[in-house]
């Protein structure tokens, strides 16, 4: 996050003072960097149009936006939409759903890859390890449309493979996985772990590969067993990266995973499975309540922004992590 680069402004102004060739050098320097600005131009323009103009469009959240009137002609309503958001219990429930689902995912997506990385680290046959890695990373690259389509088939109440197995092996009644709110949340978290745990393992495996083998050799000499080595060497060396992954995930606490929920949910589970993003889509795009759903989106953007900034600060403080 923090880019602590000292711009040598002073040095330059000092060195150029009183030298006759200074203006010439300045100009040639400008010439040299102008082509850099030109290179940036396409990205700058596209970002301005598709990222910054929509930000300006957020003023709709304080209006009663009518497409025919446009942003300049629509009436101002102040914070009415925000008051409406928080005055209706169903709306507040959507925020809770988001936090619950995102929170459960956050924990599961930290714990499962952590343990899996530890176990995979004990595999000594490299070929076997490579094959397992290839298989478990793969679901990450499938889209939620594909995974959603597969899950709908697998979890079908009558005759889905999962229910067949449950009835056949455990003798219990078929479960309505995608039609019951609590089961829905379970399916959402479990399928997210299924899809992402392998991929999330990579960063832990990278940290494990960085452990100095001399540490293990020394422990071996001291007569430590593998379990003791794991407690005293392996797990402590994973702590920094775990803190980074955990804190950075905090910024996503209002991201329940639109792609996933949208491809799995239905009207039966709105009470427990509807999240902010799906709510905004249904009300804004389908329902045409542009201003209200913009207000909901703005609420999410602001909270997320604050959380991301805090998360990066924390990650930097606790584990000295920065993205550039």
């Amino acid at each position: 996050m923090c880019m602590k680069q000292t711009v040598p402004l002073n040095k330059e102004s000092v060195s150029s003072r009183g030298k006759p060739e200074a203006p010439v050098r300045r100009r040639s320097k400008w010439k040299k960097t102008i082509s850099l600005d030109i290179m940036l131009l396409p990205a700058l323009i596209l970002t301005f149009i598709f990222s910054y103009i929509p930000m300006a469009g957020l003023i709709m959240a304080f209006q009663n936006y009518k497409p025919a009137l446009g942003m300049t002609g629509s009436a101002w309503v102040g914070f009415d939409h925000f008051e409406f958001l928080f005055s209706i219990p169903e709306n507040v429930q959507v925020i809770w759903n988001t936090v619950i689902i995102a929170g459960l995912k956050m924990v599961a997506n930290l714990v499962v890859p952590f343990i899996f990385a530890l176990l995979l680290n004990e595999i000594r046959k490299m070929y076997f390890k490579k094959v397992v890695q290839t298989i478990v990373y793969m679901p990450h690259f499938l889209s939620w449309v594909i995974v959603g389509g597969i899950l709908i088939d697998l979890l079908a109440q009558n005759g889905g493979l999962v229910n067949q197995a449950l009835t056949g092996l455990l003798g219990i009644d078929p479960i309505f996985f995608l039609g019951d709110g609590n089961w829905f949340r379970f399916v959402v978290v479990a399928s997210d772990v299924w899809k992402e745990f392998g991929f999330n393992t990579i960063v832990f495996l990278a940290a494990l590969a960085g452990i100095n083998p001399a540490l293990y050799e020394a422990a071996e000499v001291d007569g430590a067993g593998r379990w003791q080595q794991t407690w005293a060497i392996t797990i402590p060396s994973l702590i920094p990266i775990t803190i980074v992954v955990g804190t950075l995930a905090l910024g996503n606490i209002l991201n329940g995973g639109f792609d996933q929920i949208f491809n799995l949910y239905n009207a039966l589970v709105y009470d427990k499975g509807d999240i902010i993003d799906t709510f905004v889509y249904r009300y804004g795009i389908i329902g045409g309540k542009f201003s209200f759903s913009t207000a909901v989106g703005l609420f999410k953007s602001i909270v997320s922004f604050v959380l991301i900034v805090i998360a990066y600060r924390l990650a930097y403080k606790l584990a000295n992590y920065r993205i550039f």
């Binding site: 960097t33 149009i49 176990l119 067993g225 593998r226 792609d259 795009i285 991301i308």
Partner: protein, 292 residues
């Protein structure tokens, strides 16, 4: 020493078994779908198919290929994937090069970087974005699937970090030989960045192939749906009203084996490029995450 202890041996046996089970857990859903897609219609709807096709037939694939909506959506996806990957990579490369310079030699660098990074932290959200695209008259055009997502700030950061690892001496040599920045980028940076560029291109490619929401959002005319959006509508939402089907085809499309075949065709290209992808992405992630 611990390798020889009985408990560690027992653990090893458990561990290998566990790894095999986890791998199966990742594969079984895909194998099941594949088995259903090759099974007979009756066997599939009677839930007789587990992990091996029953009454093997290619019927589902024949019906899928005969479905012109499906074929048209593949064509849309191919166009967006090729054009989109190309344009996105061009924009990202052109932006990553200047941003990889030290701020001592390119003063505005930090301002530009924050200009891009800020868009990762804060966004206008769905509705203003949608209204903008509508006002730009981009609905139902191929460009709406390509242009708004072309600037990937994340890819930009990965690539600029990679560019920074290139020895300064190479750039200086090029500059002394009279090359400008464009020449340096094309003749010095790009050739040695091929592995990184291949990785990012593959990611962009997979992203385009999988992308479904922009199609749903911006294509009011279903004939413009890319494949992922088509699959979302027909298989996930099971909404046939948006896809023009002749009544006699309706049964074919809603058939379980045909759905499975469509799902499989939808993920087959990803499975095909995946081995190449895997070779690079571990490197790519570590490259972006760990900096000296």
């Amino acid at each position: 020493m611990y390798h020889k202890s009985t408990s560690y041996k027992a653990f090893t046996i458990f561990n290998y078994t566990f790894m095999i089970l986890i791998s199966l857990l990742c594969l079984i859903p895909l194998v099941h779908i594949l088995a259903v897609s090759f099974s007979g219609k009756a066997a599939a709807s009677a839930n007789l198919v587990k992990l091996w096709p029953v009454d093997f037939t290619l019927d589902a694939y024949v019906k899928t290929i005969a479905n012109e909506n499906f074929i048209r959506s593949i064509w849309v996806t191919l166009q967006r994937t090729v054009l989109g990957t190309f344009i996105s990579m061009a924009v990202v490369i052109l932006a990553a090069y200047p941003l990889s310079k030290e701020s001592s030699s390119f003063k505005r660098r930090n301002i530009y970087t924050w200009y891009f990074v800020f868009t990762m932290l804060f966004s206008g959200g769905l509705v203003p974005f949608y209204i903008l695209v509508r006002n730009l008259d981009m609905l139902n055009t191929l460009w709406v699937l390509i242009i708004p997502g072309a600037v990937s700030v994340w890819n930009m950061i990965l690539l600029l970090n990679f560019f920074r690892g290139i020895p300064k001496e190479m750039e200086e040599a090029a500059l002394i030989d009279g090359a400008g920045h464009f020449r340096t980028l094309i003749s010095v940076y790009l050739p040695i960045s091929m592995p990184a560029l291949a990785t990012l291109s593959l990611f962009a490619l997979v992203g385009h192939w999988n992308s479904w929401f922009d199609g749903l959002l911006f294509m009011t005319d279903h004939t413009n749906y890319p494949l992922a959006t088509y699959l979302q509508t027909v298989i996930v939402q099971q909404d046939f009203s948006k896809v023009s089907v002749r009544p006699e085809d309706l049964e074919n499309i809603s058939q379980r084996t045909v759905k499975a075949a469509q799902i499989f065709i939808g993920m087959a290209p990803i499975l095909l490029v995946y081995p190449f992808l895997q070779r690079f992405f571990v490197k790519g992630i570590v490259l972006g995450a760990v900096k000296e």
